[in-house]
Symmetry: C2
Subunit: 407 residues, 2 copies
């Protein structure tokens, strides 16, 4: 049996598996230390009451023959799809057709699977640093080429760093697909509508498409920062948008997300004909996926009720307060920090003379705080470090005060 | 943006989308007819009380900070993985390592995604007729070649029909992977341990692997029919096994399944080195999947409790009773029927002179009963038809009595 050789080219293990391994080893060696986790982007606050009630009600329905639900619609129940259209898009002036919204079990699944629609030889651009799933999922299909030193030789990297204020340049060579994530994971930075428009215009001009990951849109606080790429004129012709309830409503362990694939987004087959990606995604999802758990879809729909909205916003505000504590605390220590205003992530420059994995080890050893080394997100992440706001205010304040030990 | 050309080769729409479309059109034209659905393999009985209680308890945990769960372990919670090992495998004398079991959102996802581990040029064999996902997922990756008339020109078909008592022959040429599903979907037939051993021995001799879909194992009633391929000596070296709670416990709308990938199953990379598929599947799942909803995993674990087991068995017994009603009823009408003893599916020969889609239309029009045309499952399915036991006893009896109209 012949295997897919591309897996053998993947370097080391998945970033968060490695940070978890080092953390576990540290804790085993120092069982008395109170380690504070500001590493992986996992929420810590419970599901809000409106979500819990809706889920209980749905579970009860599943226990009674008359209201029991077997296989649901392949792409999500009406009640959820329509809530998404009405509450997430109509207020922004964006009108989506019913069959342009696809409910799934997670944005990680969607951004990992979407590359199945691309030609094997398609050229992929990613911002750098980047959420590793975009890169690894393309590498597994051979589109990234070979991993040489610290980068893939067929990927186009768009560096984002303090020098360009974390605004990526458009690709300088022909590219089929660009992945953008805003508010950005890992840097916590954003693009204004005008900055995003540069990419949309570039994609339209070059017949490329954009995979837009908006998983963190609920954290946007500033005006003029788009909540959807479709706020930019022309984006519906070139962009697929992936959204998630994981960070919006604490669904990391509950699992629900959605992806928007407008009918007007088209690719070229090798005969030079234009093909709707919407039709391809429908085929992909109906062939290899069987829908999201009914109680989970009811849970997701509950966040669009007036109580749900208010309760979820209160949780987001709490995380944003933590981000502020980190940002201001580290700034006072003289550190250079970015993000954390429209995002639960704070991106900091590691002290000079260190690399980001050494800083990870130092922070764990001296402060017992877990973060994520920037190098894990790509070559331009080297020299930076990510801290998350997903902890309690108390633990966040404690972590920040421990960082003083480093200075 | 260049697309994956393989999608353009897929014929028509997914089988069940087409039967649903015809049924919907019929119902719209005949709003007064009481249509009985014995088509798609979807359960109709509600989740059992033990499952409902466990799910409610888990939902409550998600609403409280101290017991809230964010991202779970990538491959499933301990409580579920260990229940699977203890209750599904140990009683059969099969000892699985903890990390050989992977919990997922559905067997459709797993059997659709597993082909990502195969070389692009791997040769695939399927029994014919066959569950369409094995074929379509490989076609989307280019391994099926082109669809010519009624078949893919790079697939190896292993015909199963009345002539060979639905026992597939082993491939007569070099093949990398064989998909087997027993109890079989769509035919409802089974292989004895000795018949399955022929495939295991063949795979070991030819260094091929077997993807074994055991989604219907809960319906096995006869002795000497294996509940797991690992009951066959040597299977752990060559077989990956996919199981599901969909049919076992009515989870079609709840979504949970698992796949077993033993460490001893290996493939060859292009350098001729042996590689563990277990390590590859770990990488695939941790990169493109983020685990199953916590309350759903608790729900699945509840079927292994004494009450859960008894309640689930009662539901299965009910479906098996329906299968018996169909099997015996149609036999009395002089029809040739197969399956339905160790399976919720009854496979029948359509009256001579008809094809299976014409029989679908006739049955819908004359009897208002929905089934699934055998041709939808592959070329050897032509001339056959599938009826399912997933309805109430009353409706099943009514459907069988309506079939008398045809004679």
């Amino acid at each position: 049996m012949r295997i897919n050789d591309e897996y053998g080219k993947l370097p080391g293990s998945y970033l968060f598996a490695e940070t978890a391994r080092r953390t576990k080893a540290y804790e085993a060696a120092h069982p008395d230390q109170d380690v504070i986790r500001l590493g992986i982007g996992d929420v810590t606050q419970p599901l809000v009451p409106a979500v819990i009630s809706a889920m209980h009600a749905a579970v009860d329905e599943m226990g009674v023959r008359e209201t029991f639900r077997g296989y649901g619609p392949d792409f999500g129940y009406d009640f959820l799809v329509n809530a998404i259209r009405e509450h997430d898009y109509m207020p922004l002036g964006i009108d989506l057709a019913y069959d342009e919204v696809f409910v799934s079990d997670g944005a990680k699944s969607d951004v990992g699977n979407i590359q199945e629609l691309f030609a094997p030889g398609a050229v992929i651009a990613v911002t750098d640093p980047v959420y590793p799933v975009y890169v690894d999922s393309n590498a597994m299909s051979g589109r990234a080429g070979s991993y040489v030193k610290d980068r893939w030789d067929r990927l186009v990297y768009l560096p984002c760093n303090a020098e360009n204020q974390f605004v990526p340049p458009v690709p300088d060579r022909p590219v089929d697909v660009v992945y953008l994530c805003y508010p950005n994971n890992p840097t916590g930075t954003v693009l204004t509508k005008a900055q995003l428009k540069v990419f949309v215009d570039w994609a339209r001009e070059h017949e490329a498409i954009i995979i837009y990951d908006a998983a963190y849109k609920a954290f946007i606080t500033e005006k003029d920062i788009p909540h959807s790429i479709y706020e930019v004129e022309g984006a519906k012709e070139v962009a697929i948008e992936c959204c998630s309830y994981s960070k919006t409503a604490g669904f990391t362990g509950t699992r629900c997300a959605y992806t928007v694939v407008p009918h007007s987004v088209k690719g070229l087959n090798s005969a030079g004909e234009k093909v709707e990606l919407n039709a391809m995604w429908k085929r992909r999802m109906s062939t290899k996926f069987n829908g999201v758990s009914y109680p989970v879809q009811r849970a997701a729909a509950a966040i669009y009720t007036p109580e749900g909205k208010a309760q979820v916003q209160a949780v987001i505000d709490g995380y944003l307060k933590n981000a502020q504590v980190i940002r201001e605390g580290l700034t006072k220590l003289g550190m250079e920090v970015y993000g954390g205003v429209n995002s639960p992530y704070v991106w900091l420059k590691v002290p000079s003379g260190m690399d980001s994995w050494s800083f990870f080890d130092l922070l764990l050893d001296r402060c017992h705080v877990v973060g994520t080394p920037g190098a894990g997100f790509g070559p331009s992440g080297e020299g930076y470090f990510r801290l998350t706001a997903f902890n309690t205010l108390e633990k966040t304040e404690e972590a920040v005060s421990r960082l003083k030990l480093l200075f």
